[in-house]
Subunit: 340 residues, 2 copies
């Protein structure tokens, strides 16, 4: 059915002629056509209008040529659906006017009917699948419960998410109750994405690396494991924890099909820490796409040699940066495609 | 001579009755008396007035009781001495009006006579040693060349230091020339600190963890190694690279007396990665000082048990946060002192 199923084959651990490649945030601000839409429509309008989300999702497939599409959306739409207000402020990023601080705040947080509250995402998936016309698979995603708690409690982005951590350390029972509500919503959300036709899902634990290994096992990992367990029989699940090298062993035994790694974890360390058998995804330093193109080509060859051609999905180690020239992004994709 | 030499014994790898303890940024904003001085004198006045620097350095020794003092100063005074203008803006942090962008900018950067340009630091050391009256040893410090380059090029703090990385990746020759100038200045600076009487020095590679292991070996590690090699026969050197777990092996073979580790690297991983023989320092999550005091006491006991009593210096995994209650900081220090 799919014309290009390299990505799904790598997720299944099958032998492939070359690794598949995509880039986190590939439908993003480095694309001039994206910037035109950004000038016309605000952030949540782009997320909530299926026509726009589909157009943005397919844009990099047409323009830079990765082997998988990832639905244009945001991890914070789940908080919105739970009736936690989220705005996107220019120059600041996510802004939550009423962060969760106590039991009363928590009591207002709902576990929604996702088909209603997030119906626009499901519509966007259907429209995107039509536009993709089976050229490449479509990835759906969600943030990890811990990462969503970070925003829900801190109220905005942060280097340290100190308020979110203080909330967990001072009021662990409240924290676990919030994490469990987010987990329940996320499982229902991802299950409807599966029903709507996505081919794989990825969980982003963007802020897991702010926790000690012991606190990670307390406040992040058990909730990711619940989500993986609930989804793994329906669809391949990729877990990406930025800075979470210390948890790769637990992750490899979770039932996930693949693990994302960032650029601070070498291929050798990632294979060792994950036990050597699971598909890995990553890990080119997004800033390194500023290198001259011949250097990018050389680096990509080295990266694939280090991870190995099989059980490997070439990607960046985090989202592509807004200041990357499109021809550098294309050179990255092409270098993987030309690997032999 | 020193009434408490536990810290120096741990650095020398000697058997101790209990580990020594101090806290990064222990002379900082969590202390109400520090805040009073902060309200009266701006940041660089505090650094550049030996009376104030000495008073602030000794304050935590009197008030919370660690086993070592660390001179109150800032890593950016080295850039100022090199005639790179640095301001400290309230609410923003470091601000460099003329960041390094090209050869012409680099040509203006000087390698100063440190006795002149940084004489106030040396005066502060002498005054501090008088006030300490041999109660505990005094640590001098410097930023790593890569970390100083981050500020010199980015012009301010950053989550990703993307401009600094772009500078290195696009103009590596300029980057290496700047790193070498910073290295030469830092070696001269630390040598005069040794002559002035500090008992140990610590290098802070605060932003080393933003680099891939390969780029770390290119842009950060060789310069730290130069500094360690130049100092190690004169004084014990501690290397602390935040997020640099991947480089612990090289660090352990550098001639450094001890390595700092942050809280994302467990004691077990740190001992394994560093080869098991070198003194380690760390690694309590600074946010965890917000926990109830009995939890802090329990965590400290577990931490010491995990690292082992010997070849270990109890510390935080990064600087203490401004919002930590003083009695929680004291409880941390006391829990180490009561370990048996």
């Amino acid at each position: 059915m799919l014309k290009n199923d390299l990505f799904l084959k790598a997720l299944a651990g099958e032998i492939v002629p070359r690794p598949p490649v995509w880039m986190m945030r590939q439908a993003g601000r480095y694309l001039p056509d994206f910037m035109k839409l950004k000038a016309q429509y605000d952030f949540f309008t782009r997320c909530q209008t299926p026509e726009l989300a589909a157009e943005i999702t397919v844009m990099p497939i047409d323009q830079v040529g990765p082997d998988a599409a990832i639905l244009f959306s945001d991890i914070l739409v789940v908080l919105q659906a739970m009736q936690i207000e989220v705005e996107m402020k220019e120059g600041i990023g996510p802004w939550l006017p009423h962060p969760i601080q106590n039991q009363a705040d928590l009591d207002k947080v709902v576990i929604p009917e996702v088909e209603d509250a997030l119906g626009y995402v499901l519509d966007a998936i259907k429209l995107t699948l039509e536009r993709l016309d089976n050229r490449v698979p479509l990835i759906g995603f969600a943030g990890s419960p811990w990462t969503l708690l970070c925003y829900a409690v801190q109220g905005q982005g942060s280097k340290t998410f100190d308020k979110a951590k203080a909330f967990c350390f001072e009021q662990p029972q409240l924290a676990h109750a919030l994490l469990q509500k987010i987990t329940a919503t996320t499982i229902a959300y991802l299950k409807t994405k599966v029903t709507s036709g996505v081919h794989a899902v990825q969980l982003f634990d963007s802020w897991g690396g702010l926790l000690s290994p012991s606190d990670y096992q307390t406040f992040s990992w058990p909730y990711i494991q619940q989500i993986v367990s609930a989804l793994k029989d329906d669809i391949p699940v990729i877990v990406f924890g930025k800075g979470c090298w210390f948890a790769l062993r637990e992750m490899s035994q979770s039932g996930a099909s693949a693990l994302g790694v960032d650029w601070t974890c070498s291929a050798e360390n990632a294979r060792y820490l994950s036990g050597g058998n699971i598909t890995l995804q990553g890990n080119y330093d997004p800033s390194r796409l500023l290198s001259p193109i011949p250097k990018i080509q050389e680096d990509v060859r080295k990266m694939i040699n280090a991870f190995g051609k099989d059980r490997y999905i070439a990607n960046l180690g985090h989202g592509i940066l807004p200041n990357i020239p499109v021809d550098h992004a294309k050179a990255f994709i092409e270098a993987v495609k030309n690997y032999s």
